[in-house]
């Protein structure tokens, strides 16, 4: 199976502190890989480095081609898209404009293609359609998450990076979010999912990695990892207790 994303020996340092230590992982074409691990393990750092938001050492290969020295906007134009943990919406712009800017790199595509994508996103998130004229900053937490996902979908990504999509959401909205993730997989989008909610992540993913203090300590098919005693004790036990 060909890889949508291959990472080999990727290190990221904040000054002298190394936040990610020679990480090696891959996301297969059309599959969902997940990275689980505790707070501060370097999960968000990994995603930021993949998008080129942080300088990194090591090899990053996207759809077979090296990403060396390409800027974030070039990576977006090539079909990579990150939904960040903090959502990073444009609070003082309307929901509609946020979605429109999601398609910024496709601004040459013409009004008809965009209209179709708007219709698709609004069909997936009817709430966003109701609020399309409202400022993004006035949305509730769940709606913001929908908007962040919708904005990413407007970019028509081939590789979607999701950073804690369930963070701070009500259980019902979490279920909805993971439902959408599974749905997106059916449309052929490859995904790298970073989650603290290990139970939900392992259910939806094909392959999983466990990241602890900058190192990948465990990996395997998601179903297998879900039965691993260490994972059960550290992550699944904890997450069910927290909920």
């Amino acid at each position: 199976m060909s890889a949508a994303l291959e990472i080999d020996g990727l290190s990221v340092a904040y000054g002298k502190v190394e936040a990610l230590h020679r990480a090696t992982l891959r996301v297969n074409e059309g599959a969902i890989a997940t990275v689980i691990g505790p707070n501060g393990a370097g999960k968000s750092t990994l995603l930021a480095a993949i998008m080129g938001l942080l300088p990194s050492k090591g090899i990053l290969r996207y759809a077979g081609a090296l990403l060396d020295g390409s800027s974030t906007e070039e990576r977006v134009a090539r079909g990579m898209c990150l939904v960040p943990e903090r959502r990073e919406l444009f609070a003082e712009l309307s929901v509609h404009d946020n979605l429109l800017l999601g398609a910024f790199h496709r601004r040459g595509d013409g009004a008809r293609a965009l209209a179709a994508d708007f219709a698709e996103v609004y069909a997936r998130f009817p709430r966003l359609k109701e609020r399309s004229g409202q400022l993004a900053g006035t949305l509730s937490g769940g709606e913001r998450q929908m908007l962040a996902l919708g904005r990413a979908l407007m970019a028509k990504p081939r590789l979607l990076l999701l950073d804690e999509p369930s963070l701070g959401l009500a259980p019902r909205v979490v279920r909805e979010t993971f439902h959408i993730i599974a749905d997106l997989k059916r449309t052929g989008v490859s995904m790298l999912l970073v989650e603290q909610n290990a139970r939900a992540a392992l259910q939806v993913a094909d392959y999983a990695y466990v990241l602890e203090v900058g190192d990948i300590v465990l990996e395997g098919p998601a179903a297998e990892l879900a039965g691993n005693p260490r994972v059960v004790e550290t992550y699944l036990g904890l997450s069910s207790a927290a909920r």
Partner: protein, 346 residues
């Protein structure tokens, strides 16, 4: 004071206020997108006004040397960065934008200057000379510091101002210049006489403000500029090149500065450093509007223009004092209203 004088002062205040409003908008735009307090805004006024006067006199303005050398410096910085990243395909674009274009403009102006062409052609030449200086200044001074704090950017901004006003003295000399008006007519409106030039200023300002509004509300590039101002990380994540939005905002600021300079060059005599004071008043106007919203900044600038014209009548010796003191109550109110927040470092 009788009605005549009152109306005359209002006309004067509105004319100046319209210019200040334009500058306030440009300052706000640049600050919102790049977090640079754009002190050298005033130099673009000076360069445009003095270049126009020199072209009218059939002399070649020194602006072309600033443009050509600035372009070369920007090309050197950008070219070096491209070589280090081994991004060869960026080189032709860099050469075209920073070397070929500025040199072409410089030669065109040098050729056209002694020929004393029509006034509107001269205006276009001035715009062609001054507007590219905006992105060039951004590329040289600010783009390498895109993540620096507001304070650092402000200090660099001051440095750029001193360099540009020094160059202004070198190339334009210390004498004041004034160009001839576009349209010499005067209209009688009841008791008050209105000069065509001030109508021109107000109309051009309104047109530019409407143009900016259309850009920001109805074009994807304008929205991208606003998005960058609101959330830089978010803007990068949707693929907006933030270096480009910085250059675009400086381009707009240089354009607005140049237009302001062209508009006032026939109203008042300008010296090599006059633009700074005018730019500063645009800044005060933006502060009076709370440094937050475009309509409020424009309104603040208009109020400032009126305040200036009336204080020049009642207490002309204290005109500038009154104008610049008006900022203090606003600053007090602003700092009382907003709780102190530590600057958000990246």
């Amino acid at each position: 004071m009788n009605a005549d004088i009152f109306l005359w002062l209002v006309q004067d205040g509105v004319t100046n206020g319209a210019i200040y409003a334009l500058l306030a908008l440009a300052l706000l735009l640049v600050f919102a997108v790049t977090r640079v307090i754009f002190v050298p805004q005033g130099e673009f006024i000076t360069y445009a006004a003095l270049s126009l006067s020199l072209l009218e006199a059939g002399r070649t303005p020194g602006t072309i040397y600033i443009l050509a050398v600035g372009g070369l410096a920007a090309a050197a910085i950008d070219g070096y960065a491209a070589l280090r990243e081994r991004a060869w395909r960026r080189l032709p674009r860099i050469a075209a934008l920073y070397i070929v274009l500025p040199l072409a403009i410089a030669f065109l102006v040098a050729w056209a200057a002694p020929r004393k062409l029509d006034q509107w052609i001269q205006v276009l030449l001035v715009l062609a000379m001054v507007v590219p200086l905006g992105p060039i200044v951004y590329r040289i001074a600010f783009q390498p510091l895109a993540n620096a704090s507001v304070l650092v950017l402000f200090i660099v901004s001051m440095a750029v101002h001193y360099i540009l006003s020094g160059l202004s003295l070198v190339f334009f000399g210390g004498e004041g210049l004034r160009s001839s008006p576009f349209w010499d007519a005067r209209f009688k409106l009841g008791v008050v006489e209105i000069s065509a030039q001030s109508l021109f200023v107000v109309a051009a300002s309104l047109l530019l403000i409407v143009g900016l509004w259309l850009l920001f509300e109805h074009s994807i590039y304008g929205k991208a500029l606003r998005a960058t101002a609101i959330n830089r990380v978010g803007a990068r994540l949707v693929g907006i090149p933030t270096a480009l939005t910085g250059q675009l905002s400086f381009l707009l600021a240089a354009f607005i500065g140049a237009v302001s300079g062209i508009l006032i060059s026939s109203i008042t005599t300008l010296y090599y450093d006059t633009g700074f004071l005018i730019g500063l008043k645009g800044f005060v106007g933006a502060i009076l509007g709370g440094m937050a919203s475009y309509p409020l900044a424009a309104a603040g600038a208009l109020v400032l223009g009126l305040l200036e014209s009336f204080s020049s009548f009642w207490a002309s010796a204290f005109k500038e004092v009154i104008v610049f003191t008006s900022i203090i109550p606003m600053l007090v109110w602003l700092s009382l209203r907003s709780r102190h927040v530590e600057e958000d470092e990246e």
